[in-house]
Symmetry: C2
Subunit: 138 residues, 2 copies
Amino acid sequence: VSDAEHWFPSHVRHLAEEECWEILADHDVGRVAYCDDRGPVVLPVNYSLDRQAILIRLAPYSRLAVQLEDALASFQIDEYDNFNQSGWSVLLRGKATHVETAAPSAEGDQPFPWAEGERSLLVRITPDEITGRRLLPA
Amino acid sequence: VSDAEHWFPSHVRHLAEEECWEILADHDVGRVAYCDDRGPVVLPVNYSLDRQAILIRLAPYSRLAVQLEDALASFQIDEYDNFNQSGWSVLLRGKATHVETAAPSAEGDQPFPWAEGERSLLVRITPDEITGRRLLPA
């Protein structure tokens, strides 16, 4: 029994990796997660894709930046329709690393945070695994 | 610098605990998170409130049910508006426990999963901490 079961055992369709990447490319807000000694922390972030990795922009000495330095991390995105009781979710599990500013990505690929403030640190979440599911309407 | 900073440093308003509970009472889909040896896992779930705790209904021997037995766990909910670049998020950190079926909650308070299938196990997430933020439109 997989994790998918909790949400949608009967009308579930597993998404191919390619579909997961298409969904990620079509959106710009998701959730980053990390673990500390009190368990998981899940926080919304603006993001962009850099090939097959997630990029987020943070203030260099924020708590999130410190937690996402060479650490296990996940990125999650979902959408659901209350009327149809349907939806989808994508979970990317991997490792977060700080990106050396000496080797920036192309400007067009950078995440654009809605909030202002100094966000000179780019963090990359590189996947070890990406999984997705779609719950079809009943 | 708090975690809030990553999303909305300037127009951020911290939500009072009471506001967080009101938001949780007004919704029925959120995300549960746990940690395993590969880091955090974040999955959408239907939920309900039982006083100041989250209830979710699972199949008894699913991976999620096994992971949420006497474990650190979090529950997260958020909403955002792409047009206004605004939104809010609530994070509840605490512990997940299996609820003895000998002592069920009132039927009206039970979570109603959209998916069918046997979901005889009730899991409660009891908070140690609940925090929320609202990002006001620019």
